[in-house]
Amino acid sequence: MKLQSRHLLGLEGVRKEDITLILDTAISFKEVLERPIKKVPPLQGKTIVNLFFESSTRTRISFELAERRLSADVVNFTAVGSSVSKGETLKDTARNIEAMKIDMVVIRHASSGAPHFLTRVVEANVINAGDGAHEHPTQALLDMMTLREKYGKLEGLRVCIVGDILHSRVARSNIYGLKTMGVDVSVCGPATMIPRNIEALGVRVYYRLEDVIPQVDALNVLRIQLERQKSGLFPSLREYHRFFGVTKEKVDRAPKPITIMHPGPINRDVELSADLADGPHSVILEQVTNGEAVRMAVLYLLGTSN
């Protein structure tokens, strides 16, 4: 079985079969993670560069571990202190690194479309580890893997993404992936953080958590960035927490337990209360483990298809 594309740039337009293939493959890699020796050989001899133009700890570590566990050679490139700060263009950086004979590039970048640009200037397989507010496909895949594990299937589930949808690549990738898999998706957040025409993507919009909580199986809670307050999108963290923070008090009013997800890192007691984050219905650490498995699956499927 092969994926349709030789890159993973996003989940918009990715076929149901391909998502299923990645999720199924991830299950067998998750099993590898349970072994005493967590290493398998499929990418032996392959060289992968993690090109990170935006600070990230957990995604980069997650990718790096996934790459090493597949026996690939790994190089990390972070923009801080690199040639980029000396004015080198992304194109030059990428071409120079490619001239060192690499096979795959994992890129995180603050600009939407940067991974797409990369596919036009290098030959390597490109994996998007987050581009601007556009997509973060492996995050959505690990979210889907976590939900599928918990419920046995995705189709028919009801998921609400809560928070700053406007700036969230996690939200977009989740919307595309979940919709393709037959999940009922809604979003909830302050009106200033709901992008225009989002309903056209087939999601319902809520402005009150109380209205959406009784309607869903899971809440995917996004991190709120404090700097959005300065740009006038919300008045204060206190108000945000009161009205859009996911708390035990609010979810306890639901007729049945609600699964709590968060892409991390959490602002505890801001967008999500600590008791919920650590509570019995939280799958947040499961998401992190599944992130490993999903990234191994993606790297494996793309890296062995050439």
Binding site: S112, G113, R196
Partner: protein, 427 residues
Amino acid sequence: MKLHLKSGRLIDPTKGKDVVTDMLIVDGRIERIGQSLSADRSFETIDLKNKVIAPGFIDMHVHLREPGYEHKETIETGCASAAAGGFTAVCCMPNTNPTIDEESVARYVQEEGRRVTGGLVDVYPIAAATKGRKGEELAPMAELSKAGAVGFSDDGSPIASAELMRRVLEYSSMYGLPVIQHAEEQTLTKNGLMNEGLVATRLGMPGIPPIAEELIIERDIILLRYVPLSKYHVAHISTSGSIGCVRRAKAEKLNITCEVAPHHFTLTDAAVESFATNLKMSPPLRTKDDVQALKEALRDGTIDVIATDHAPHTIDEKEVEYAQAPFGIVGLETAIGLSVTELVNQKYLTLNQLIEKLSINPRRILSLSVINIQEGETANLTVFDPEKEWVVDIQAFKSKSKNSPFHGRRLKGKTIGIINNGKSWFV
């Protein structure tokens, strides 16, 4: 120079003329106009069967980049591009370095234009409305108009302050020259990269809402009503809402005109899906409904002018991430092709109306002399083939820059040549 233009279709909207005719041109002057003229061997004969002869086209919105940004374009390469695109005149925008905000720079661009083209392409400066285009103090408009400026604009930036805009309108009204507004309420467009709407939402791109353009136009209309003797021209109009504003102001008989760029009536924001940076311009590509509104407005005369907003940038400047790329695309060499393909062939404009929007109306707005196509007059002519099909090849561009989203596009309608000030250029 002795030319025998043979069997061309002369369309002269000012005289309501549309006839197949011959024309003899000697040293830049129209010697004879008439059917089946004979000319001796000293004349070069150009067969113009099924080709259109029109009063010379002018592109009133061009960034020639010189002085200051000669790596993108020079007056020489920009004028060569204009000639290849069928324009006998261009207006150069003042966002050069130094800015065209004082006499010497205004004179320089005209003289350099004459020097490099020998008069084939007239270069008319649009001067800055405010010093340094900073939106703080009035530019010396009287001196600038004496030095040949044909309009005032801070193009690239709006004249943001309502107070200063009022003063610009008042001051410029003494000289009868238009104030050309880049209508953008910048507090609404901060960090914006493309039209705000479904496509931007899908792509996670910061949006430029249509209302940012409409707010400034509506505000300026209120100012114009208060300063009715001034002339106000909207640059590169792009939204359906803006069209509504201009249409209502025109119904009120205010001194308002506007222009549209070919890319805005040809492409929509859906194209940005590719993240190709040659789709990044300001104002951005809008929606299908906006494109439809622009075409209707061209048809009903709400839009007076087609102008390209020719904005050269080098390949290196454009071959970067979308957010990092500069705004703007080149347009001189695809203007006729896009206009004929999108407007004439789709029956929004007749050839006569197209010529009005590329020659008659812009010259009227800029208070330039009417081109008189009759015996004894200087020939200022554009010749084009409205039936010629061709494929855009950026490598064939005369412009120094190749930043066009239309590479590989099949168009109908192409320049054959131009004649101006005793000079001629033919394909």
